[in-house]
């Protein structure tokens, strides 16, 4: 990419053999965009100003961050589309061919260029590459979904993906299986009766969800699942391109106009994921010990409270439960030594020897006390956020980890909440609705607000807590911290106070 108001980069110029220069195609020609969607295969070559370079990139970044926050909030595809609509219209509009707008080519150019600028900015670090690729795929998916069907078909055809259509004879032979796999009940429409064959490896997510018929390594993909194929292809090509860019990147360092902008861009792509820093551990809560965990349970969110109760009931937790709970305890400020002690005492049924062999190492690993360099330098793993808990695979038989609002059957959830002291019928009813709509964190926040309604009212009236202090909770450790502070209002550095907890101690 070259930038305006200067001569052509000497390195680029040298690419054309002087003898052939007069016959060569103009290298920096303006690209024409036939389709609204873009696989970003060809890098832009025309010139733009430095200012455009920066604003376009920032605009796209804004869109991507909003998309990311949608996924953290567990919004459904439709909700995401609804939420993103004004944002896209403002920062990165793309209109269909049918509008024949004047802006059409200009918009597509901006989309094209901004993609490549961010690609440059984010290709240097693997972590950023992965995030960029995930978000770009989400953006592409969003646009693909609302593209005009005819234009979309034209675009897909232009990609020239090699798909074999399923012939009539085969369709007749496999009709029953094909319809069953596609989840169709009787009388399909003509369009629904179209399938194409690909190696199953190309549609792993459809296979994973059993949404295609698979036979001898070949997946029969219904027409309407085409999106998943196109997306897989998009991600695959983007990942490969990012890898290449990252290797080519060091050569860009010489350009002292672009690199500061790129560096700045990649820094501002800071993770909005709710992370929990150790500095935010509580003042009043000093010297947490293994013995004091029980008394803190009333301030735990349901996910941790459930793990704690399960641990007390069975004197054991399975691997992912241990991990989730250990990290939470680490986040509330339990030291490694105390944490090991806590688990040792909790696993009443096993010998010291077995504990030392099978469990101690994992705890130390989570704290970053052992393990590879990266693990130790990063001081182990970060406590899991709600986002993490909500996107993990569901627990299997005998496991207790994850977010109970998501993993429990609604009846069991309500029963557990009642046992935890949530008696308000209105709240329980709303929780049931939230859970039905898969808004698990909303349900959890609702329970929090109800259980702490008096305290919240108090701080609101006194004006001691800002609105930000009462923002939606998206991390179990935030839940605990806020709950603990509210329960110990006005106590200053009170240490672990046990006499207060009596009213809700159920265990």
């Amino acid at each position: 990419m070259s930038v305006a108001y200067s001569r052509v980069d000497p390195k680029r110029r040298a690419h054309i053999d002087p003898k052939k220069r007069q016959f060569a195609k103009a290298e920096f020609a303006q690209q024409h965009y036939d389709h609204r969607l873009n696989f970003y295969e060809i890098p832009p070559t025309a010139e733009i100003t430095l200012e455009e370079f920066e604003t376009w990139a920032i605009n796209r970044l804004k869109v991507l961050s909003e998309l990311e926050s949608c996924s953290f909030r567990n919004r459904s595809p439709d909700e995401t589309a609804e939420y993103m609509k004004p944002i896209l219209a403002k920062y990165l509009p793309l209109q269909p061919n049918s509008t024949s707008s004047q802006q059409l080519q200009e918009e597509r150019k901006k989309d094209h260029y901004s993609h490549f600028i961010l690609r440059l900015a984010f290709s240097s670090i693997e972590d950023l590459r992965r995030r960029f690729s995930r978000l770009e795929t989400m953006l592409f998916k969003l646009r693909y979904r609302d593209d005009d069907p005819r234009e979309r078909r034209a675009f897909v055809q232009s990609l020239k993906l090699d798909w074999e259509e399923v012939g009539e004879a085969e369709k007749r032979e496999l009709k029953e299986q094909l319809l069953a796999a596609a989840g169709l009940k009787k009388v399909p429409t003509a369009e629904e009766m179209e399938w194409f064959k690909v190696d199953w490896e190309r549609v792993p997510d459809l296979v994973e969800q059993r949404r295609v018929f698979v036979k001898r390594g070949v997946a029969y993909v219904p027409q309407r699942e085409q999106m998943s194929l196109v997306l897989a292809e998009f991600t695959k090509r983007l990942d490969a391109a990012l890898e290449l860019t990252s290797r080519a990147l060091p050569r860009l360092d010489e350009d002292d106009r672009l690199s500061p902008i790129l560096a700045h861009l990649s820094q501002s792509f800071t993770t909005p994921e709710a992370s929990y820093s150790e500095s935010s551990s509580l003042n009043g809560l000093s010297a947490l010990t293994a013995a004091s965990i029980d008394s803190l349970q009333p301030s735990f969110p349901l996910c941790m409270s459930h793990l704690h109760s399960t641990l007390r009931r069975d004197s054991h937790l399975k691997h992912f439960g241990r991990l989730q709970y250990t990290l939470f305890l680490k986040g509330i400020g339990l030291s490694l030594e105390e944490c090991i002690l806590f688990w040792r005492r909790s696993f009443k049924l096993i010998t010291d020897d077995k504990f030392a062999k099978e469990y101690r190492y994992n705890i130390r690993h989570a704290y970053g006390d052992v393990g590879g360099d990266a693990n130790r330098r990063g001081r182990g793993y970060t406590p899991y956020s709600c986002q993490k808990l909500l996107t993990e695979p569901l627990p299997g038989p005998g496991q207790a980890h994850g977010c109970p609002y998501r993993t429990f059957a609604p009846d069991n959830l309500i029963a557990v909440l009642q046992r935890e002291g949530v008696t308000d019928r209105e709240t329980l009813k709303s929780v049931r609705e939230d859970v039905g709509k898969q808004r698990f964190h909303v349900a959890c926040n609702r329970v929090f607000e109800w259980s702490h309604r008096r305290e919240i009212k108090k701080v609101r009236e006194a004006g001691t807590w800002s609105a930000a202090d009462l923002d939606t909770i998206v991390h179990p450790n935030t839940y605990f911290k806020r709950s603990w502070l509210l329960r110990h209002l006005g106590e200053g550095n009170a240490g672990v106070v046990q006499h207060q907890e009596g009213e809700r101690m159920e265990e």
Binding site: Q177, L179, A180, A181, G183, L184, K185, W200, E201, P204, D205, V207, E208, Q209, R210, F213, V214, K215, R216, G217, V218, H306, K357, P393, L394, P395, G396, P397, G398, Q399, A400, H401, G402, P404, T407, F408, A409, D411, N412, L413, V416
Partner: protein
């Protein structure tokens, strides 16, 4: 079987024997071509066991020196001295009912005389020739040592060096990991950490009885009996047919895990090269039961049933009648509450509740039949289709395979090697022949001590001038034979391709 180039025929450096070895070595070599006398010599030495013992200890120190003898079990003609001499002390002393399975002498004898290193090597190398490729050389092995230390990132250029390490360290078991991009032993010398990454590994599955604990009534914890082994049999049938018919895999090795489960190794090239996303896809495709203990109904599938589930249901139906309703009797007495919870229809539930309350000792099979009977008599408020689907879901919840899916999802996950000894039971992790999966009896699988005494009790002579390998004298034979057949099938597929490659490179 393309065994024309067998490992023992490849020339290997023969270091000069150390002084302490010279007399015995020459003694052994003089017998090397007189096969029939070899056995006699070994027998004669057994009598002098006590006198030989101190010498044996000395021989062990020189284990590393001697490398001209690779596979004693399959190439007994060139039996070297250290084996004959170690046979002597190990056989008489170790077999008593009190000896522990992980006794060092037992483990040494096991690795020396019974473990089929040669076929393990061919299996993992996808070729009998050690110089072909890096599939074995860059493969990670992890040892669990007798003191329970866990030693990762071990790798070996040849089967013999693996065997040597096993005899030296006497691991209670060892696990097999992926093939890495570089030799795992060199991983710390690399400039960039990213140059060391897993490249390929068999697609593996782990089915363990712990995941069935909430529906298993016959045994608990580590115990198993024939009744609950039926769960594993059902799981193998369902998973095996899906891997073959749906994904087109051909080389699937099922292995008894030594106590109460089974492992599957899908060895097709296409399976070995799958990345994590694809492994996750296959695992997800096969996984059905979702939700922890609190989630209520664990099977919630859409209708019409996906062809894979439809087929599985047909396989599992008959097992449900016998293995579940009769053998497990899962809804005896109070436990029928869970069955009621799984039914969708409140009025039917109430009617059944009344009926069963009055007859608490009614067996599960009758209760299962009651559902339809009571429904027919008019207690059904929903459609009969809803009930049928709910019943199908229940059958699946009680019979469908419960995989430990995490094991399958990661390329770099390690899994216990076939043919190692389970330290708790002493049983050898033998392959399970899927054609006869119903006949497989985990309680009949030989233990290491049993096998070693079978060697002693063996009374056949040498047939056709051929020395009989130790494993052939024992009940391990059918399992090793099966494994050998499996490996040769795998090699045939890979071998054809390699020959073509060789021709190509010749033309260069």
């Amino acid at each position: 079987m393309p065994h024309s180039i067998s490992p023992e025929s490849t020339p290997i450096d023969d270091p000069a024997p150390t002084t302490s070895q010279i007399d015995t070595a020459s003694h052994a070599r003089s017998h090397a071509d007189v096969h029939s006398q070899d056995q006699d010599v070994a027998m004669g030495e057994a009598d002098n066991a006590d006198a030989e013992q101190s010498k044996v200890k000395l021989e062990e120190l020189f284990d590393d020196e001697d490398s001209d003898e690779e596979f004693p079990s399959s190439a007994p003609q060139v039996k070297s001295e250290d084996e004959e001499e170690e046979e002597a002390p190990t056989t008489p002393i170790n077999i008593s009912s009190k000896t522990s399975f992980s006794d060092p002498e037992i483990m040494r004898a096991f690795y020396q005389r019974l473990f089929p290193f040669r076929y393990l090597f061919q299996w993992l190398n996808h070729s009998p020739n050690p110089s072909d490729g890096v599939d074995f050389k860059h493969r990670e092995f992890a040892f669990t040592l007798p003191n329970d230390a866990y030693l990762r990132y071990q790798s070996f250029p040849t089967a013999d060096l693996l065997r040597r390490q096993c005899i030296q360290l006497l691991p209670s078991r060892f696990e097999i990991g992926p093939v890495y991009s570089t030799n795992p032993r060199d991983r710390k010398t690399l400039r960039k950490a990213s140059a060391f990454r897993p490249v390929s590994k068999e697609l593996v599955f782990d089915i363990d009885m712990t995941d069935y604990d909430d529906i298993r009534t016959c045994c608990t914890g580590a115990n198993i009996c024939h009744k609950c082994w039926a769960f594993i049999t059902m799981a193998i049938k369902v998973v095996d047919v899906a891997l073959r018919d749906d994904f087109g895999f051909k080389h699937i090795l099922w292995v008894y895990s030594g106590r109460r489960g089974a492992h599957a190794w899908v060895c097709d090239k296409r399976a070995r090269e799958m990345d994590d996303a694809k492994r996750r896809a296959v695992a997800g495709y096969l996984e059905l039961l979702k939700g922890g203990d609190q989630s209520g109904k664990k099977v919630n599938v859409r209708r019409p049933l996906h062809p894979h589930l439809d087929r599985s249901l047909n396989i599992l139906k008959e097992h449900f009648q016998t293995s579940i309703l009769l053998d497990q009797d899962p809804w005896a007495g109070e436990k029928c509450a869970h069955l009621l919870q799984l039914l969708p229809d409140p009025s039917l539930k109430a009617a059944l509740q009344r009926k069963w309350d009055s007859a608490p000792s009614r067996p599960s099979a009758s209760k299962w039949a009651d559902i339809d009977a009571v429904a027919k008599s008019g207690a059904l408020s929903k459609t009969s289709k809803d009930l049928l689907e709910a019943k199908q879901d229940i059958v699946l919840e009680y019979t469908y395979p419960r995989l430990d899916a995490e094991v399958s999802k990661k390329l770099n996950h390690l899994l216990k090697s076939p043919f190692v000894v389970h330290p708790g039971t002493g049983r050898v992790c033998v392959p399970i022949d899927t054609r006869k999966v119903e006949e497989f009896d985990p309680l009949e699988v030989p233990t290491v001590t049993q096998l070693l005494s079978e060697i002693d009790e063996w009374e056949g002579g040498d047939e056709d001038d051929r020395k009989v390998a130790d494993w052939e004298k024992t009940s391990l034979k059918p399992y090793v034979d099966y494994f050998r057949g499996f490996v040769s099938g795998l090699l045939k597929e890979g071998g054809a391709k390699r020959n073509r490659d060789e021709v190509d490179s010749m033309e260069f």
